[in-house]
């Protein structure tokens, strides 16, 4: 199990955003992406997760091992917390682990309709999905937005012990401190020259 990224170039809206990004993560390793707003963190993560095509370069990890999580987490307001998680468990063909409610501090909210949760509670539900589906390679876009410090620590603990400890891999974009040691990668130096070749508009330059 390894995530290997080589000379990756990514684009958004037809404009190259990042260029020549390379790194390799072994099982159990995490990488924190840093960089100012608009540098291309979200674009990079979506490309890694296979949700949009790369401009150039190469991404390699075992097929069907990746999961992507962003602000919008596929939470249905009209389903209860348990129903939401049970659905994703069923889709991924796994049983809903009972421990997940304790891990993500959702015990008291089990039967609450997801639509009535507060911002941070909703975020915890979104993260709990990751604990349910058990994918090994996680691409997380600002996972701790709206979480209070206690929940941030709780999430970091889960990531460190349950996910990475079990041989998982994680790439995390964030502006705030996660309270866990992991190598950081500042994306500023990889900014693509907007006039560079590449992108779907290439033929017209």
């Amino acid at each position: 199990m390894e995530l290997h990224v080589e000379n990756l170039g990514v684009a958004r809206g037809g404009v190259p955003v990042l260029d020549r990004v390379s790194f390799t993560l072994a099982a159990g390793a995490a990488l924190v992406l840093r960089g100012p707003n608009g540098v291309g963190k979200t674009t990079l993560l979506r490309t890694l997760a296979g949700l949009q095509p790369a401009l150039s370069g190469l991404v390699r990890y075992p097929e069907g091992a990746a999961a992507y999580a962003s602000h919008a987490d596929g939470i249905k307001a009209q389903l209860s917390v348990t129903e939401n998680l049970a659905f994703w468990a069923a889709v991924h063909g796994v049983a809903l682990p009972e421990t997940v409610f304790a891990t993500f501090d959702l015990e008291d909210l089990r039967d609450r309709m997801a639509g009535t949760l507060s911002a941070g509670q909703k975020r915890r539900l979104g993260l709990a999905r990751l604990g349910v589906i058990g994918r090994k390679v996680l691409f997380l876009d600002e996972p701790t937005v709206s979480l209070d410090t206690f929940s941030v620590r709780m999430f970091a603990r889960w990531l460190r012990e349950d996910h990475l400890g079990a041989g998982g891999i994680a790439v995390i974009a964030t502006h705030i401190d996660l309270g866990m040691e992991a190598p950081e990668l500042d994306l500023t130096p990889f900014r693509a020259d907007p006039m560079a070749r590449g992108g779907s508009d290439e033929a017209f330059l």
Binding site: L51, P53, A66, A72, G74, K76, F87, A90, V91
Partner: protein
């Protein structure tokens, strides 16, 4: 896949009656036509097959945007796309769920509405048969249209524009079954065509729908 079907049905029921509303719209369109056309029962009886079918089509159309747009807005769609389910299967299930919540109830009440429009009683079984056979195609074609426009904010009207021409063959044969039934002619040919369309649509549309979804998710 069963989980997806169950979830979609549960959502349809909880979101304030997904079942009832498609039906209600069908009923309302059919009752509005006499207000426009006037209370002449002979006239109404003659246009009844066409009106019922156009109303069924519009009722299906109006709820199409539920198929994928909700899942797109809350981010479920990319998650489903990266899940172990084949996207073709997702498309099929989505079309099926739409049919169960709109096409099926609509087929069941159609005879009652036939009365309102003074449809010839001989045509009632044909009305039922044609709707039962034709509405699944409407849902599946609609799922394709919904997939094409899923990225666009409020693509509702654009979707209608794309889907309606695709509905024409189903509409023609469906209404023809009923009209011929009312006049006592053979309904063999249009029924067969209707069945053919539905079978073809279910065989091919899931692939087209999944392709459209993949492109829109990029």
């Amino acid at each position: 896949m069963i989980a997806l079907l169950k979830r979609d049905l549960a959502l349809a029921v909880r979101a304030g009656g997904g079942f009832g509303l498609g039906l209600a719209f069908f009923l309302i369109v059919i009752t509005l036509v006499p207000f426009g056309v006037g209370p002449d029962t002979g006239l109404l009886g003659r246009i009844a097959p066409g009106i019922v079918w156009v109303a069924a089509l519009l009722a299906a159309l109006l709820s199409l945007d539920r198929i994928f747009a909700l899942d797109h807005e809350d981010g479920s769609l990319p998650l489903l796309a990266t899940s172990p389910l084949p996207l073709e299967g997702v498309a099929l299930i989505k079309g099926l769920a739409h049919w169960i919540t709109t096409g099926l109830p609509l087929t069941i009440v159609a005879p009652v509405l036939g009365f309102l429009l003074n449809l010839d009683t001989a045509a009632f079984p044909w009305l039922l048969a044609s709707l039962a056979l034709g509405t699944p195609a409407l849902s599946m074609i609609g799922a394709f249209g919904a997939a094409l426009t899923v990225g666009l904010r409020r693509g509702g009207l654009l979707m209608s524009l794309l889907v309606l021409p695709l509905y024409v063959p189903t509409l023609i044969f469906g209404a023809l079954v009923v009209a011929r039934g009312a006049e006592g002619f053979s309904t063999h040919m249009p029924l067969l065509m209707l069945a053919g369309i539905t079978a073809g649509v279910f065989a091919l549309m899931p692939f087209a729908t999944a392709a459209a979804l993949r492109i829109n998710l990029r």
